[in-house]
Symmetry: C2
């Protein structure tokens, strides 16, 4: 059965644990990275918009099935970071990632953003992630060798929006 997906920007206390579940379930992130993903939600719950963290949550009427976290980069005129995008494994392959990207970029452009940055690993495990970004108009602008660890580079993608 396919449920209808709805998007919301409002952050709820239950989102912290729901984000933990989704991010951990993807299998792409180490436990400290999962903690960081959850921290963004709790920071936002505690400090509101002053946290600098914004979200697009995708619900299927029963539970959270995907989300993005993004925000303006301090001391820049119109650059935004896309911190996280994650879709629950049992919801992947249905275009939800694409819809989350489109909605997030729309909100960034509406907030005056012009450039969206997203960072990921250069490891083989992340080849599908990099392809996903390239497929959605992101361009690898920089590679920082050995950034995450020896042999594990950081690749910085950018897309001009708005």
């Amino acid at each position: 059965m396919t449920r209808e997906i709805t998007f919301r920007e409002e952050v709820r206390p239950a989102d912290a644990e729901a984000v933990r579940e989704i991010v951990a379930a993807t299998g792409f992130f180490h436990p400290p990275e999962v903690d960081v993903a959850v921290e963004l939600v709790t920071e936002r719950l505690g400090r509101g918009e002053a946290s600098g963290y914004h979200f697009v949550f995708a619900d299927d009427g029963e539970r959270l099935v995907g989300y993005t976290a993004y925000g303006p980069i301090a001391c820049t005129a119109h650059s935004f970071d896309l911190y996280w995008i994650a879709v629950h494994p049992d919801q992947q392959g249905r275009g939800l990632g694409r819809r989350l990207m489109v909605e997030t970029e729309r909100l960034i452009a509406r907030a005056g953003g012009a450039r969206v940055y997203v960072e990921t690993s250069g490891r083989d495990l992340y080849a599908p992630t990099r392809s996903f970004y390239e497929h959605h108009g992101y361009r690898a602008e920089a590679v920082l060798e050995d950034f995450y660890d020896r042999g594990d580079a950081k690749v910085v993608f950018v897309k001009v929006v708005g």
Copy 2:
């Protein structure tokens, strides 16, 4: 008269305003950037080492004359950010910047750090800053065009230490 300079890692409440003075006095930073520099000090005072912010303060026996702020980059094995380095204008040209860099890199290496990243603007105003980093063994590894603003790129330098 040349006073003797001493370095310390301990952070004191008075450092917040002293950092504001030094960073503003350099003339290299916009007010929101000055605020960010001060925030790092107040975050550290409030949250301790959990803030992730570490400092090297240079005192001349009477006042703060320069400092660096640095810290480990979350979710990396041994990468550190050098967030700030600033020397009071009336103390520049005496090698204090160099001494601050050397001391900071020593502490990073001692803490297990292997790569130090520092970011600055590609604008002409920052040519001396970029030369300073290059002179001290940093290499421009990436350039993100229009990152800070249109025509204002971010240049990411890296140095392998330890």
